[in-house]
């Protein structure tokens, strides 16, 4: 095929109206934090750019990322993105099966050599020469290397592809290994979370398709637009944390009042993700809103940090605002002293972060 269709062509073919298309462009601009002046630019790009092909492969995983993706926020966004990338190859959703499917993968690789985005859900287990995950008669790690060779860029969907996730939990029976440790010569965008938020997934992919470049990444390789703030920073229960009001036991009076879940093991203070702003299942809620602490599923190693219900105390590497007990006590006592303590703690935190940043850069 010499002439690749544009995104807009594809959408029209899928029966998406012009009005819906424009609405989608504004939604995308909003989701990406761009000003309304970007809407025509996005629209123009989609009308003129050839569609970027996407190959979506699954390794050791649970398909939760796909599940999240097909439930993306705005039904329109999901519709558009699904049709736009049209998943030239996706083991879970595609029509073909068996050898025909393997042939389709090969054809897509050849047809779009050097030009496609490889989206990886799950990760390769390296133990026993990769025998714990076999697709099409070959270890998944071979399929991954093969598909990665001619990819323009790679998206690591979810905690599995980004960090290993629970299947890499001690003793990591299969030696499940994140993608960036296997593929080292391609740009990799990590979109962690278990699963990542649907809007984050569509946002990342739309950004890459529209602007034809990688989004700005943080030091860990995560798109900064979604992973630059902690859950805690934008948590609606934050005022209760600051006021020293905590849930002490499940379904106690404080739980019903929606107090802070820090003492119930919430990992919000150390977790970088967009759950508290974008929320889940089309923006209706997120774990903290359901009365359960954050487990930090978008952070590396979240599965092996001790109990999910242990309080995050004395964490040195990120500098939590302080020990919640302390803040609670001071707030209950002299208010002025409480504020002073909090200010001091914040200064300490800033200092800690600086040291931390230096360490990471070194």
């Amino acid at each position: 095929m010499s002439q690749i269709e544009t995104f807009y062509d594809v959408m029209r073919r899928q029966g998406i109206t012009r009005r819906s298309f424009m609405k989608y462009c504004s939604l995308t601009a909003a989701a990406l934090g761009l000003s309304p002046s970007f809407v025509p630019k996005i629209a123009h790009a989609m009308e003129t750019k050839p569609r970027t092909p996407v190959i979506w492969v699954h390794g050791l995983e649970c398909t939760c990322c796909s599940e999240s993706f097909i439930r993306a926020a705005h039904p329109l966004a999901k519709d558009v993105v699904l049709s736009m990338i049209s998943l030239d190859y996706d083991d879970t959703l595609m029509a073909a099966a068996g050898h025909a499917a393997e042939a389709a993968l090969e054809e897509t690789i050849q047809k779009y050599k050097g030009n496609y985005i490889l989206a990886v859900e799950g990760n390769p287990p390296l133990n026993e020469d990769g025998m714990f995950c076999i697709t099409g008669g070959k270890p998944f790690v071979e399929k991954l290397r093969h598909a990665a060779k001619d990819a323009k860029a790679i998206i690591s969907w979810g905690a599995c592809a980004s960090y290993g996730c629970v299947q890499a939990a001690k003793p990591n029976p299969t030696q499940a290994t994140p993608v960036h440790k296997v593929i080292t010569d391609k740009p990799i965008i990590k979109v962690p979370g278990c699963p990542p938020i649907a809007e984050v997934m569509t946002g990342v992919i739309t950004y890459m398709l529209t602007f034809d470049r990688l989004p700005e990444l943080d030091r860990q390789g995560r798109p900064a637009m979604f992973y630059s703030q902690r859950i805690h920073d934008k948590c609606y229960r934050r005022p209760h944390f600051d006021a020293g009001q905590f849930v002490e036991a499940w379904d106690d009076e404080h739980a019903r009042k929606g107090y802070c879940l820090y003492k119930m093991g919430c990992k919000g203070p150390t977790t970088y993700n967009a759950c508290s702003t974008i929320r889940w299942n089309e923006g209706v809620s997120f774990p903290i809103q359901s009365g359960h602490g954050c487990i930090g599923c978008s952070e590396d190693g979240f599965w092996d940090q001790g109990s999910f219900y242990d309080r995050v105390t004395d964490l040195t590497q990120f500098g939590v605002e302080a020990n919640a007990d302390k803040i609670g006590l001071t707030a209950a006592g002299v208010v002025g002293a409480g504020v002073a303590a909090h200010a001091a703690v914040s200064a300490l935190k800033a200092a800690q972060r600086k040291t931390q940043d230096k360490k990471e850069e070194a």
């Binding site: 398909t63 029509a95 379904d251 739980a255 889940w280």
Partner: protein, 474 residues
């Protein structure tokens, strides 16, 4: 005799490979291989028991609430407590929503698209199926994805997020719904009923669940259900893939007054309660080391040599030494619904898919009833103190059938954790006696046309079981 290696299968959850022996244009033997092993049971060892609530749901992104509910029940059993009654109701509602979502996703996204294949071009129904069910494009698929996302708002609201919801705990649930939440949930359920009645059934749910015989079912012509029945009849696929007539259900949705769908076994007409002590996981044909064991005493030690003679990572669970089929059809046969009982003898592709549709309608009605019953002012979670040593069992019904978690705790850490998932039952390999697993047995006799390398009949049969391969081995 020729041998065919079929796989990878798409439109199933996870990876699956099946070796077929074909003779005289039909399958004479089948061997199912689950080629994906992650070792969840091994990584549970030494961890705190509460970690099960976070780790085991991540076995599967499709039925994570089922895993979460089983883990919570196993921990409650370990502590010797019952969850707070209102908490049990919310947990049941969450679980019903996931199961219903799975059923409708299976029908629309995984099963029906097979009839849109070019091999069926020219049939008088093909154009309709193409329009409704072409993979990735059909109008029914789009509507289904939308309706499902809307329904899962309820899980979002009660559970914070889906997949991998954290709200279900041994003592109940973390979320206390307010009266306002209940009204919003009611609206979501109403919208879902409208979707089911307009698209899936083309008629009232109450009329569909009132069907009592196969003849009455065949007379149902409306909606996608009607389309399926017509196509199954026209292609002869409905009668394919007959099971052994043995069905198992652990019982679904525990409430203080009992399970909404009661558990039990059905062996070609004979009903019995499940004898949990008589479950064994056979590993004679699995790449596992050790001996056949009850899950409370079992271990998961992968055979890294992948020895000859074995052919799957999946263990072979047996009840009283026999294979059992599990799933929506099995559940409704055990409950005793007249239509399900009428389909029990038929036991093939049509029976399984119709069983799922029947349960879709039944569960919607149960969800509406349950919601009316939830009292926002009551306690939703009790404090649970786990003993340092002990054992517990949690059994539930996932969309795909019977799911059990068996936990043993020593000095406050997990010393044993075994899981038997529904697809472990259905897609099990042979046992020491050489008896084939339910799917392996159901595939025998499936027609294979000249030159077919991935026989259509095999795909219809395999997908009629709604396999979830990531759960199978875990």
């Amino acid at each position: 005799m020729t041998t065919l290696l079929v796989g990878p299968f798409n439109r199933v959850e996870g990876d699956l490979e099946i070796r077929l022996e074909v003779q005289d244009g039909a399958v004479s033997a089948a061997y199912t291989n689950s080629p994906l092993f992650r070792g969840f049971e091994r990584m549970m060892l030494g961890k705190g028991p509460l970690d099960a609530l976070t780790i085991t749901p991540r076995i599967c992104g499709i039925c994570s609430i089922s895993q979460s509910a089983a883990a919570a029940l196993a921990l409650a059993d370990l502590a010797g407590v019952q969850p707070a009654p209102e908490g049990a109701k919310v947990a049941a509602l969450l679980h019903m929503i996931e199961n219903v979502s799975d059923h409708m996703a299976h029908f629309n996204l995984f099963f029906m698209p097979d009839y849109a294949r070019a091999a069926y071009a020219g049939a008088d129904w093909h154009q309709t199926v193409l329009e409704r069910f072409t993979a990735g494009q059909g109008s029914a698929l789009r509507r289904a994805i939308e309706a499902r996302a809307d329904l899962l708002h309820v899980v979002g609201m009660l559970g914070g997020k889906w997949p991998h919801t954290l709200a279900i705990q041994p003592g109940g649930v973390t979320r206390t719904p307010t009266a306002r939440d209940l009204i919003r949930i009611g609206a979501s359920l109403q919208a879902f009923r409208r979707y089911l009645e307009a698209q899936t059934f083309g008629g009232k749910l109450e009329d569909f669940i009132a069907l009592g015989t196969v003849q009455q079912l065949e007379a149902w012509t409306t909606g996608d259900a009607g389309l399926f029945l017509r196509v199954a009849e026209a292609t002869g696929t409905g009668a394919m893939g007959r099971g052994t007539g043995r069905y198992l259900s652990f019982g679904a949705y525990p409430l203080p007054e009992g399970r909404v769908f009661k558990g039990g076994t059905w062996d070609n007409g004979a009903e019995a309660p499940v004898d949990f002590a008589a479950i064994r996981e056979d590993i004679s044909h699995a790449w596992m080391l050790g001996e056949a064991a009850h899950p409370s005493a079992g271990a998961t030690v992968p055979d890294e040599m992948m020895r000859e003679g074995a052919y799957s990572w999946c263990k072979a669970p047996r009840l009283q030494g026999r294979t059992f089929e599990t799933g929506a059809l099995a559940r409704q046969i055990v409950v005793g619904h007249p239509l399900a009982r009428a389909l029990a003898a038929e036991g093939g592709v049509r029976a399984r898919v119709a069983g799922r549709l029947l349960e879709l309608a039944l569960t919607q009605i149960e969800m509406e009833r349950l919601l009316r019953d939830i009292r926002p002012e009551a306690r939703f979670m009790d404090q649970v103190i786990l003993p340092k040593d002990g054992a517990g069992v949690g059994v539930v019904e996932a969309a795909r059938g019977a799911l059990g978690h068996w936990i043993t705790v020593k000095d406050g850490a997990i010393s044993g954790y075994q899981i038997i998932a529904p697809t472990t039952w259905n897609f099990s390999p042979r046992d020491a006696g050489g008896t084939a697993g339910p799917v392996e047995a159901a595939l025998v006799g499936a027609p294979v046309a000249e030159g077919e390398d991935t026989p259509l009949s095999v795909q219809h049969i395999v997908r009629s079981f709604d396999p979830c391969m990531v759960c199978t081995v875990h």
